[in-house]
Subunit: 478 residues, 2 copies
């Protein structure tokens, strides 16, 4: 599949990263001569973030080509995403031009933050093919995309757009009704206006306002929305009780929402100066990295509990794992096997600044799992009640390792009998092959239903034997 | 230190948990006869959450007593926190009564969500002692507390309230000006009104509105507030560029903020029914557990990056570590030493449902740290550039362990020389003393500045020798 992108700014570049790293080819049009550099930078950030987000096998990256015109970007692709500047006239022009060149079956989506799709589809060829697909920054990490049809949009358009987004790990939210600002931006805009008033009235600085969210309610927002949060605050009596208690406050003079602060030069100066203070000299690029690192860790945190965006991530990972082929038989069985590559994660580092020894053992455990998969222990085998358990480990640490270093494990089978398997693992830094640690391990084959040692089945032992025989001539590890 | 609490509902109970688990004694007044049960339930949830949040040594829990009257709760304590119902008359009464009984030097804070402190201090003895200390639910996990003084509040009151909150791991945000709704609730209220309109107008259900946040912008909110987020969206050109691009949208009809939806029976029915659908049969208690589990993981995620509430957590942990007394010399040196107790955490469980082998090694590592502390390796020693590093481990797993089991380690010193130390650790399940695993480890004394083995100083070796001599007659481990 190939998608066409119109616009390569912060949002268009984010779409390019989302699709390319999801394995989809991209044709991108942006008249800005700097577009290739800018998109390249977004893509680099996205690669870094995605590599930290998951240990699942990512699909092969799609190919990126730059198109000369909107028509060129749209021709022959199945899906076109428009992310031009937030101006009706410009968006209409882009979509009209692209729609004339596209296949009749192509679907169009606009990234607009709040313009109604009915306005945008007016001058298109085949207006029924257009919907809004409104993403959130950074597009390559946040799964939400609001899907909204206009007066002339047909339901098949909404379904195909949603399916396209789901295929690259997103969570499409299809709106029931066309409305300015959709859902999320109405909520964000309400908050944003109030925040601007607080600055305009000198009640708080931009940093204090940000702190008022991120040290409090902002922490909850990753896990639960306002309604579920307030339901809990109502205790067992639930929503009705909460409304009885806090409904009246809605009538109190808590906000200045009846008008919009004038964006005078003075207010703009104040905002810019306070924002500079808050950034404390960090560039947009540095701040993006902080943001992405936090988002990655928050997504992983939610994945642990199967909640919200963490559940979306888990599903995407399962899809990536399912797409992984059974490990091929290594070409040269007569050498220690390289079955597991890994990265030392920043959260594995202890107070000395080194990777904690227990994480070495975790990597060796993953290498052992890779060996088990190679000899036929897959999901089906585990479900049937057989597994190898580690009973003894002799671990030697040779060198310290820092976060982010790439490592791999070489595995040598030392011996086996029907119930036991012995292996020797050597952990190497991949950049210079330096030996970091070794582990000699003994595994016991277990009938997990009764929790007792049991003989492994013959088919599995035969596969173990092939490797053990091939490894027999190797020198014993030191 | 002892604090007095007026009110033991969701917020008052949360304060009780925050103070008690922070090591502070609490005297709580609530006329509800069910208060002890309700506070007990909040406390139980908080213990569970805090135990998962940190491996730092928590202070000994404070003592909770229930007071017969507001006066009884306030008498003799240094700090009183009022969390009564959100009604000016009730809050005034509570504060007035308590202020008459309290020491003249006691500080008062109100948990009000938005009432001005000037209103609340009117009928108090010593109104200059009152400020607002507005927390967020759950109080025992979210660090934010908005501190706001009234017309008669003196600055010492604000300082002492902020110091009290900081001592129990919170992040006080002191407001520059008194304002209805303070900062956070003005922002939350703006969003909440808009959300109610979306439901009233049938644009979206409560679940769709929650999803529109938690799959998108809500994920960012834990790490960064709106202003820093939008600055990044402006790219290198920053805030001014962002305002030029999105400022005009503020004038568009994206929200219905000029009035408040009428809370008719019909709207309340709709909210309650949609909220029931969203809860899908889960009780408030179950939802609280999901919320707390996610918050714990999100806080840990932010701690990795030293950002926002994660930085507050890290500081609190350092304080807890610093407050930990040097372990007392064990009474009977002639037996293996019980220096480390631990709990198997739920996140340590692998796909077999058992604690992953690498986590056994982590517990043994913590036991080794306890041994090192016993012989004099403290923060000062580490800062001066000396440390023991593990170079070899012989790990044997005997029994599987499940999440939440309490365990302890018995440690025997096997031998030492100026550079080396050998010890044998046995991990036992505490409930029945069953042996779970053993580890024989060799440690090397290292000059961390140059990263080389070095002889340990004599004073340290003398302490090692005392234990080694006492352990010499013990039978060698199997």
């Amino acid at each position: 599949m190939e998608v066409g992108l119109l616009g390569g700014g912060v949002i268009g570049g984010g779409w390019a990263a989302r699709f390319l790293l999801g394995g989809t080819d991209v044709r991108l049009y942006d008249p800005d001569p700097e577009a290739p550099r800018k998109v390249g930078e977004v893509l680099e950030g996205a690669r870094r973030a995605l590599g930290r987000l998951t240990l699942a096998p990512l699909p092969a990256e799609g190919a990126l080509t730059f198109a000369e015109s909107p028509e060129d970007a749209a021709e022959g692709v199945a899906f076109v995403q428009e992310s031009g500047p937030e101006r009706v006239d410009l968006k209409r022009e882009l979509l009209a031009a692209a729609s004339r060149a596209a296949d009749p079956g192509a679907i169009f989506a606009s990234s607009t933050s709040g313009l109604r799709p009915t306005l945008l589809q007016a001058s298109m060829d085949g207006p029924e093919r257009l919907c809004v697909g409104h993403p959130f920054n950074p597009v390559y990490l946040l799964p939400l995309v609001e899907v909204c049809g206009g007066e002339r949009t047909v339901s098949e358009t909404l379904e195909r757009a949603a399916a396209t987004y789901r295929a690259v790990g997103m969570h499409p939210l299809v709106l029931r009704r066309e409305i300015d600002g959709f859902i999320a931006d109405r909520l964000l805009e309400a908050q944003w206006r109030e925040a601007l008033w607080l600055v305009a009235d000198d009640v708080a600085t931009v940093e204090e306002i940000d702190d008022a969210m991120r040290f409090g309610a902002g922490l909850r927002g990753a896990a639960m929305g306002t309604f579920l949060t307030y339901r809990i605050a109502g205790g067992e009596a639930g929503m009705r009780h909460f409304m009885a208690q806090f409904g009246p406050a809605l009538q109190w003079p808590w906000s200045r929402l009846t008008d919009v602060p004038e964006l005078s030069e003075e207010l703009l100066d104040k905002l810019a100066a306070q924002s500079d203070d808050q950034a404390a000299g960090r560039s947009a690029r540095e701040l993006e990295r902080v943001r992405d690192d936090c988002l990655v860790s928050v997504l992983q945190a939610l994945r642990t509990h199967g909640v919200g965006a963490g559940a979306v991530l888990a599903e995407q990972e399962r899809a990536w794992f399912d797409a992984r082929p059974r490990p091929p038989e290594p070409e040269d069985l007569g050498r220690p096997l390289r079955l597991h590559d890994a990265r030392m994660l920043p959260e594995w580092v202890d107070y000395n600044g080194h990777v904690h020894e227990s994480r070495y053992l975790q990597v060796f455990g993953d290498a052992a799992d890779a060996l088990f998969r190679l000899v036929g222990i897959d999901q089906e085998y585990l479900a049937a009640g057989g597994s190898y358990y580690t009973v003894e480990t002799h671990l030697k640490l040779r060198r310290e390792t820092a976060a982010e270093e790439r490592v791999h494990v070489l595995t040598q089978v030392l011996g086996f009998d029907p119930k036991r398997l012995r292996a020797f693992h050597a952990l190497h830094r991949s950049s210079d092959d330096a030996l970091l640690a070794t582990a000699e391990q003994t595994y016991l084959h277990v009938d997990t239903a009764v929790g007792r040692a049991s003989a492994a089945p013959d088919a599995l032992l035969a596969r173990v034997a092939r490797i053990a025989d091939a490894h027999a001539p190797l020198p014993p590890p030191g």
